[in-house]
């Protein structure tokens, strides 16, 4: 079973054009800034928002194809959705909520009850079976919602920011449960999140959507090591420049050229860790060839470290010890020499 989607739709300001193929091998996380279209993409897969063009198929069955006049209703697509809010049915008990999907599919009352009970136990909540959604905590309600989606054993499981509406205190525990269930669930699993920690915990493949387009798609380790957009670089905490390479020299600005370790040609990205930046009071002597005199635009002390945003011929974020800050008497608006070793710069083609 696999999911194949080419989604084209306009909704208000959003212009969504996302192609995605997902198999059962590993959970996929869709990340991106707010308003990028992640949730709309998920809703389109579920049939809750119509496509303008494109096609969605589940396990080889086309469930939506505007050109072919095909559009299956959400209930005909055989998929499960966990929404940001639990969306439990207020007038039903927790157990009846979990049994809902089975009853809707014509499973007998007794069997539906038994299977729902087993799932409530699996998500660690056998004691809430008779309780109403109002009596549950946010974390408990979301567990019930997870059980409700999984009990019908959908071929495709879609989760839309499943932790976003849960209290901080309950989040770690729920994340652990989600991680466990997603790992063992034998179907297509897609989770939308804007939280990199969540993405790293739940998925092995990362798809980045920005302004309605996929900007990056790959294994978690690849994406986090080689960001291809400002947003991804910020998310994983790396500096990112775009430039033109000619051998080991890369032109990254109007009058800034950096030297990297590996030779490349043409358009490239250059990324490096903020703690690879060294700061000096005077122009340093020695081997570092990437040296600039920069202005301190922002200084953020965080415990025994400090992050500085520096601007000039190049813009970068540096992370240094608090000791270095006082030693160099750094302050907002002051200037400082910054250097990065060529071996700390990672260059890769655009």
């Amino acid at each position: 079973m696999s999911l194949s989607a080419q989604v084209r739709l306009r909704l208000g300001e959003l212009d969504l054009g996302v192609d995605l193929d997902v198999d059962e091998q590993a959970p996929v996380a869709i990340v991106g800034p707010n308003g990028a279209g992640k949730t709309t993409f998920l809703r389109a897969l579920a049939g809750l928002v119509p496509l303008d063009a494109g096609r969605v198929s589940v396990g080889g069955t086309v469930v939506e194809d505007p050109a072919g006049q095909i559009r299956l209703a959400p209930e005909e697509r055989g998929l499960g959705v966990v929404f940001q809010e639990p969306r439990l049915f207020d007038h039903l008990s927790a157990l009846e909520n979990v049994a809902f999907g089975l009853r809707a599919r014509g499973v007998s009352r007794n069997e539906a009850r038994a299977r729902a009970e087993a799932w409530l136990e699996r998500v660690g909540l056998p004691q809430v079976a008779r309780m109403r959604p109002r009596q549950l905590s946010g974390g408990q309600a979301q567990r019930v919602a997870l059980a409700r989606a999984l009990v019908t054993e959908p071929a495709v499981l879609l989760l839309d920011e499943p932790l976003a509406a849960v209290d901080m205190s309950a989040r770690a525990e729920l994340r652990h449960l989600l991680r466990q269930e997603l790992k063992r669930y034998p179907g297509v699993r897609i989770v939308v999140t804007h939280d990199p920690v969540e993405a790293a915990a739940l998925a092995e493949r990362l798809v980045v959507i920005e302004e309605g387009r996929v900007t990056q798609d790959g294994l978690l380790v690849e994406v986090t090591a080689h960001p291809r957009s400002r947003w991804v670089a910020d998310m994983v905490g790396l500096n990112l420049w775009e430039g033109t390479a000619s051998g080991t020299s890369v032109r990254v600005g109007a009058d800034a050229t950096v030297v990297t370790a590996d030779p490349l040609e043409g358009s490239v990205f250059v990324s490096f860790r903020p703690n690879a930046v060294t700061l000096h009071r005077r122009r340093p002597e020695g081997s570092a060839r990437n040296v600039w005199c920069l202005q301190v635009q922002e200084l953020n002390p965080t415990g025994d470290r400090a992050r500085l945003r520096l601007g000039g011929p190049v813009t970068l974020v540096a992370e240094v010890t608090a000791g270095a800050v006082s030693e160099l008497s750094l302050a907002d608006g002051g200037t400082v020499w910054a250097s990065v070793k060529a071996t700390d710069l990672v260059a890769y083609p655009v």
Binding site: A46, E75, F83, R87, A104
Partner: protein, 243 residues
């Protein structure tokens, strides 16, 4: 303005003969007929009004605003005019009435079903307006969740939508029923004033007052007043915004 007539009514009621006045044959028949007609009207309103309210609330189509306006028309239309309109539509020589009569021999005029139709005509908007508002303003996220769980539209409506709007629907039904119970003008114009088949309580009250049977008229009025108060008390929490 509102309280004074009520006091006037209450102080003229002949309390000692109240029970015997109400159990008099005419009064009893009229009360029973009123119950039958108002419940029949409510049934008609539910069968036709609920789907109409759903369509108005959830579907976009050309002429929707016009239809929505037309639906509320009987609320402001003088009931006598409504009765005349019904006569030209469902009377024996009316547009639909003629066809129905020729096909089945059924007529609404001078018939309890006519009284029900007249009452439904004036009372249905109360149900439709309330139901439409609740279908439109309810939280739709539960319906979406139900759809992703494999629930068909009918199953969703029964197990998610109806329970969510049930309190509003009950209020709309109570209002609509109370309005049907008090219906006078359209009934007398369209269905007539036949004891036992179209002479509902308001019609009998009018007749009794005209013919000098004041005690019976007052006793029946008291019953209708109490029912109205009962509906008000039942809806009080809703209107005062209490949970």
């Amino acid at each position: 303005m509102i309280v004074l007539p009520l006091i006037g009514l209450l102080q003229r009621v002949s309390w000692s003969t109240l029970l015997s006045d109400l159990s008099a044959h005419d009064a009893f028949v009229a009360l029973r007929l009123s119950l039958e007609v108002s419940l029949g009207a409510l049934a008609i309103a539910l069968v036709f009004g609920l789907p109409l309210a759903w369509i108005l609330a959830r579907h976009r189509f050309p002429g929707r605003a016009l239809l929505r306006g037309l639906v509320t028309l009987p609320m402001v239309l003088p009931p006598v005019v409504g009765g005349i309109a019904l006569l030209y539509a469902f009377g024996r020589r009316g547009l639909a009435g003629q066809v129905i009569y020729d096909l089945t021999g059924w007529r609404f005029v001078f018939n309890t079903s006519g009284a029900m139709l007249a009452a439904a005509f004036v009372s249905m908007p109360f149900l439709i307006v309330t139901a439409e508002a609740s279908f439109r303003s309810m939280d739709r996220r539960g319906e979406e969740a139900a759809a992703t769980l494999g629930a068909s539209p009918a199953y969703r409506f029964r197990r998610v939508t109806l329970p969510a709007v049930a309190p509003a629907l009950a209020a709309g039904a109570a209002l609509s029923w109370a309005r049907a119970l008090g219906e006078f003008g359209a009934t007398i114009t369209f269905a007539g004033n036949l004891p036992g088949s179209t002479q509902t309580t308001p019609l009998l009250i009018y007749l009794d007052i005209e013919s000098g049977h004041e005690a019976t008229a007052l006793a029946l009025s008291l019953v209708l007043l109490l029912v109205s108060l009962g509906v008000l008390v039942g809806l009080r929490d809703r209107w005062l915004g209490n949970p």
